[in-house]
Amino acid sequence: MGVEGIGARVVRKEDKRFITGKGRYVDDIKLTGMTHAYFIRSPHAHAKVKGIDSSAALKMPGVVAVLTGKQLVDDKVGNLICGWAITSKDGSPMKMGAWPAMAPETVRFVGQAVAVVIAESKNLARDAAEAVVVDYEELPAVADMQAAIKAGAPQLHPEAPGNQVYDWVIGDEGATDAAFSKAANVVKLDVTNNRLAPNAMEPRAAIADYDAAEEHFTLYTTSQNPHVARLVLSAFYNIAPEHKLRVIAPDVGGGFGSKIFIYPEEMVALWASKKVGRPVKWTGDRTEAFLTDAHGRDHVTHAEMAFDTSNKIIGLKVKTYANFGAYMSLFSSSVPTYLYATLLSGQYNIPAIHAEVIGVYTNTTPVDAYRGAGRPEASYLIERLMETAARQLNVDPAELRRTNFITQFPHQTPVIMAYDTGDFNASLDAAMKAIDYAGFAARKAQAKSQGKLRGIGVSCYIEACGIAPSKAVGSLGAGVGLWESAEVRVNPVGTIEILTGSHSHGQGHETTFCQLVADRLGVPISQVSIVHGDTDKVQFGMGTYGSRSAAVGLTAILKAMEKMESKAKKIAAHALEASEADIVIENGEFKVTGTDKAIALPMVALAAYTAHNLPDGMEPGLKESAFYDPTNFTFPAGAYICELEVDPGTGKTSFINFVAADDFGRLINPMIVEGQVHGGLAQGIGQALLEHAIYDANGQPVTASFMDYAMPRADDLPSFNLSHTTTLCPGNPLGIKGCGEAGAIGASAAVINAITDAIGKNNLEMPATPDRVWRTIHAA
């Protein structure tokens, strides 16, 4: 415990360097002899590359090389992979077209690279890129998912007829049909989950440095999971074997999922570095981020929910079309399947569920995991359905939810997930109290007298996080295990280094992970440092995504700590001539319980390293490692309620209040947790009100800059009213569930439920822009 232990609101250690401009991001790194890459990207959504003439560019000042997709293929650099195999309902494997890092023959989305210029500076590379002549033969393109699956639509990949990647099902169709046949009421809803551009603050970047003497590559890259990057680059892309490839992800300015994946640019940089014999740097700009960072969401769904006469849900049918863009990105296949349909039970007892998901290719930027990844889509669908049902059944929306809440745990849903614990009534109670739900009717009437339309919207979300048990994800098609590793090094002077396979790109690991050490040893966090993001320093790790770093990564640290403490206690007992069982650790000291005999941690550490007087047979040193593989996902859940007003004259939404009652299990640093919730809510509200990555019918992006793509700003958001109800996660010793994605998962439905309540019309798509809301109000 203590002022810096678990549960303490410790100020983030890493912020000093970030807010004083001393962070070290990839673009800050400059290597001797470094060259700069500029990619030549397709302006067409679909075209044949008939030829590339780089002769003029090669004569320009400072140009080192112009490399094309054809050369990449000739050098046998592998195509990009999708790491999660999905099987269609007819038993066939998913159908994928090849994705070369630069297109040798065909481009399939605006922004796809066809060649790269390597030059002495970025500007010279860009100058030369303008002199490269690419001969395109335009092909018909299709950007709209519904258009792409129609007969006669332009075809993207010969491997995927009808532009269909898979047609996947989950649940029991017969049982679901039977439930619907007995239904007293059926509620139907069509929803679109709008496509989002992730927009991490730091654009993606890479520096590749090939050492010809050692035949060794170093890659500095903006990655959420450098070890996974090394694994994929080695195993699938023929870049270099693992021991000849070091991947470093230094300070990374936000990821939100978009930096999980292996992208063409880092592969090309590695390959180009060897080709030109010099380090190659690429830093994307914002336009490239809009065009090439994997987008998120983009579902079109029809759902039906069956109720019995007592308003209990008896069945759920879902059919979803998921847009994958032009290529299957690294984890894309899992997002609308195992990360989406497995959460369709929400917080509710639903005895029968059947869902079908059809994955579709279009001439758009690839779509993959983005904060929440599948779970926001599931939560939005279920919570819009519950609201729709409450309106149709004429019952209070909160009450309808209570009628159907799961209250017994563990609970096996019909769609794989086994919820371990939770108290959904407690979080809904807390949220309703915080927003004075009972007093809403009076406030609505008061607002009406002032010409404003006031609404309230509830969203009760659940997510599966701490992603998670390797055996489980392996059985579902994952190409990797999803454990985490850690190493605890106690230095001879008693300072502590924690090596973790988790990667911090804004989450505050350098603080929270230290708090666990402070909690267990009673040392100040200033004595502890966190080492991450370098495959040469950390043996292995699976990285940070899916709200997994505390539940999985921190537990791995705990396991390593326990091993280290066990050895240290033996050393202390030996030094104090006491029984190991009597040694307790307090305030940085190993004490013999019930006595005043003690030895400080530095002395124990020194004893371990001098090895002058260790117990017989003990190895010197004080360093332990652990791998931790949880037995289940974790299930963070909560209730969000939004109260807002709509201006009928303009359709503009103004927040009155937004309350969030989350159950994240144990909180390590409540201040950091609140920051995570704030950020998630901002993204969820951004999706609900502002953000939409749009393409025209020909696949040209309409929103490729912040002048058109509306990112939420501080004045678009309310002050959040946060609280926590806690059930400890039984699946890990710290009782942690994870908090990184909740806000983005739960917020959108609360907002849309509130707006539709305010305007008295149920059908409203996201983003609920003032124009769209105004037109909905005034629609016949």
Binding site: T287, G649, D716, D771
Partner: protein, 266 residues
């Protein structure tokens, strides 16, 4: 950005002479449009002549029935100017709504009107207040100055030095910001001159840039009140439409913003 030669002019005359000597020069004021366009390599001026540090071009002055804003005065200075707030509070308010803080610290009135973006805020004020644009060569009435999208009466090399606004009897501005860019999705400036003329100008609405709204002017001339606009019908034809607002929505906004501007004007 392509190579260019940067000049910091110390006087209007020096700026004009630098311009005359350059092959394809551009004047730089706050740089809120020119610099992003140059960064995207959509503009490649041989020379960039910075006007923003010319002392004679910065400041807000009230004299009698005229408020003069010199061309290189940033929006923030106008928004916080006591003289502006006293003479034409609606104009100071308009300046406080432009873009975001970073834009307001850099962007200038001269740069804004010389660029004449169809969704910029200032053109609505100039047109509604019947302002006069002063250049290094002449004076141009606002109604003669704006010539359609990104087009003005300025001749090649002509420099806006100031804008003078007759102080109105009443004025108000109301704006629905574009959710991404914070330009005006539609903004309406209403003014009643001291001689009783009613002038209403809308920005962000028309495909031809800032426009007078004669139907609303007529209604307000009869009855200066928000309710007077209730019965006015604004046609959607000829209005801008994009992902953030249909033409019908903008037509509605012209009316609603005008009503709110009148309410604000009192």
């Amino acid at each position: 950005m392509y190579q260019t030669t940067y000049h910091r002019a110390s006087s209007v005359d020096e700026a004009a002479s630098l311009f005359a000597k350059s092959s394809e020069a551009k004047f730089l004021a706050g740089g809120q449009t020119l610099l992003p366009v140059m960064k995207q390599r959509l503009a490649s001026p041989s020379d960039v002549i910075d006007l923003a540090k010319i002392k004679d071009m910065i400041g807000v002055e009230a004299s009698g029935d005229t408020l003069t804003i010199k061309a290189a005065t940033p929006h923030y200075d106008v928004a916080t100017s006591d003289a502006a707030k006293k003479a034409i509070p609606a104009l100071a308010y308009l300046a406080s709504l432009i873009g975001d803080p970073a834009v307001r610290y850099r962007g200038t009135i001269g740069g804004s009107i010389a660029n004449n973006d169809p969704a910029a805020d200032y053109p609505a004020a100039l047109l509604a207040l019947d302002a006069t644009v002063k250049t290094n060569k002449r004076s141009i009435a606002a109604s003669d100055f704006f010539k359609g999208l990104f087009t003005t009466a300025l001749e090649d090399g002509e420099i806006v030095t100031a804008v003078s606004f007759p102080v109105p009897a009443k004025a108000g501005y109301s704006k629905m910001p574009h959710p991404a860019s914070r330009f005006a999705l539609t903004g309406v400036f209403v003014a009643q001159t001291k001689s009783g003329e009613v002038r209403v100008a809308a920005t962000g609405a028309s495909q031809n840039g800032v426009m007078r709204v004669s139907a609303i002017e007529a209604a307000l001339k009869t009855n200066w009140s928000p309710a007077a606009i209730d019965s006015v019908s604004i046609p959607a034809s000829g209005l801008l439409a994009d992902i953030h607002g249909t033409a019908e929505y903008r037509a509605n906004l012209v009316k609603v913003m005008a009503q709110r501007a009148v309410a604000a004007a009192g």
